[in-house]
Amino acid sequence: MSEVENTMSNRTRKSHTISRRGFLAAAGVAAGFPAIIPSRVFAAEGNPGANERITVAFIGVGGMGNYHLKDMKRFVDSGEVNIAAVCDADENRLRDALQKAGPGVTPYRDYRYILERNDIDAVVISTPDHWHAAQTVHACQTGKHVYVEKPACCTIEEGTAMVAAARDNKRAVQVGSQGRSEHEAYLAHRYLENGVIGRVHTVNCFHYPSPIDENPVPDCEPPQELDWDLWLGPMRWRPYNPRYCHGTFRWIMESGGGQIRDRGAHVMSCAMYWMNADGTAPVSIEATGTPPTRGLWDSCVNIDVTYTFKNPDWTLTWNQPGQPVPKEERTPDEPEITRPGYGAVYHGDNGTFVHWGGDGGTWAERKCREWTPPAGAKEVFKSPGHKEDWFNGIRTGAKTIMNIEAAVGVADLCNLGNLSYLLGRKLEWDGAKRQVIGDEAANRMLGRPQRHPYHL
């Protein structure tokens, strides 16, 4: 047995046999970890109690990870959360995060050190998209609750594994399509649910194009602070390129998938939620697109995708750029629409409804915001906040507003849209079997093998 395997074996045995007293000795004192008492030591069935802090670690601390770390401080201040660890494959980002997180927080390059720690209840995953599935699956398998950035996954196979891991291990997973938790999203949901514009038969999303790489550069050695192999993780190996790393991974089809997988995971998340379509899937997906004319990035600049749903029948389209709707004028005391370049138009039998944004900024058309529910109107769930809803899921086992099943359903739309574009053909989809009907090559592309040792 190799040294690594031997260490793994010892760790596994330890985690299976550890007692509360043993944990406090081993994790809190002997191993030199921060003296945080894990909430689940005192809680039933592995969940923190209502009045106990949830101990959280951050995997990926640049970009949205940096935002989440700063945002989580308010829950530290309110006594709901402890921050135990931060992790990144980029040591510069890790150093910065450690400064923000403060004393008593442990830095890691490799997220698997976090998964070994029994004092950590939950992880916030904000790594590039190609890491979301493996890290979520691994976190669930080691007993951690998960907040993972959107999109949930890059392939159909990854989504299937994520759902199974969360279910099998009874972990609360919240995916970062936080638009569902926005106040004006609640108003929009209630407005549509009450049929104010009649039965909605078509939803047309619009979004500005994905960028073209204006500054392509050759492959080169990675910067010293970056563990390129770990950054790539499950992806097949390739040389480092500065145009393919932090942030810019978004424009590579294999890892980021372009605007449709980035903002599509927000705007189409709203559509699926408000249409009560979580748990359903389209029966066909047809895409056409325009690729970039130069550079490393290969996500299509423009793309039009039509998703056809049956029983009930409705059509969802992703149109990039589509027909953007100019933002409505708002008074100074109304929330400003700061990202009007994307959103959706809902077409009902009795009218239309527009929203802009769909993520942390979700803005509903005035007529919706001013609509007063009559007596007997249907009420819809009002999220207490995206993180608060996750904490509730952790403590009570309640389904989160953007639970993993719903999030995978939305990611499927993004991924199948890109797949149809890549193959240049319409896909007939069996949502129950999660298979393309009659297209063996397309089915093979529903998953991709992971590079060792970063297996699902």
Binding site: M8, L115, P216, R236, E440, P449, R451
Partner: protein, 207 residues
């Protein structure tokens, strides 16, 4: 158009190797991919799928062009050829493209080209592709890509190849093969998974 010495040699070789495969359509495609206008190049690679198997060898060679954007357009054109051939009801087209890809794989092209070809075969290849891919499991630079590509091809031939490889590959690669076998539903008691074992320590110190 500047062509590197390496690319020039490769193209000369390709001319010999595939002289019987050249066609006006292929020549037109290659010329368009070499065009200085990026719109012309892009339109060319987008439409390359229809050209099919005769384009495979010339495109593999053009991937070595000294102009990065030409090389990139050639790679994207080759992917179009592979994916277009995998469409339902095009078995003969696919068989011809797979055969052409296997010829490239067996040749002397650089690993970067062969690696792309391997992944194309992982999408459209069948039993005929398994042995050529599995033979690369003993090639240090290509073996991990080969493992993933063999794993991806359905059927008993690929499964048997992985089982056989578990015995034949070097010790330091057996755990990789074991994971592929598990993925394919085979119980492998040896070489336990190390996917959860941390291995990368940071130099950043806690405050």
């Amino acid at each position: 158009m500047t062509v590197s010495r390496l690319a020039g040699i490769a193209l000369a070789t390709a001319g010999t190797e595939s002289s019987t495969e050249t066609s006006p359509e292929v020549d037109k495609l290659i010329a368009a991919l070499r065009d200085e206008d990026e719109i012309v190049r892009t339109n060319a690679w987008v439409a390359a799928g229809e050209v099919g198997a005769p384009a495979v060898g010339p495109l593999a060679d053009l991937m070595l062009d000294a102009q990065p954007e030409v090389a990139r357009a050639a790679k994207r054109a080759l992917w179009q050829v592979a994916r277009h051939s995998g469409r339902p009801g095009a078995e003969s087209d696919k068989a011809a493209v797979v055969a052409a890809l296997l010829t490239v794989l067996a040749g002397e092209r650089p690993d970067a080209v062969r690696r792309e070809v391997m992944w194309m075969l992982s999408e459209i290849g069948g039993d005929e592709s398994v042995a050529p891919l599995a033979s690369l499991l003993s090639t240090a630079e290509l073996r991990e890509d080969a493992r993933m590509c063999v794993e991806r091809i359905p059927g008993t031939a690929s499964l048997d190849a992985l089982k056989s490889a578990l015995d034949s590959v070097p010790q330091d690669f057996k755990a990789n093969i074991a994971e592929s076998l598990r993925k394919r539903g085979v119980e492998v008691p040896e070489f336990p998974s190390v996917k959860l074992a941390p291995s990368r320590a940071t130099s950043v110190q806690a405050m």
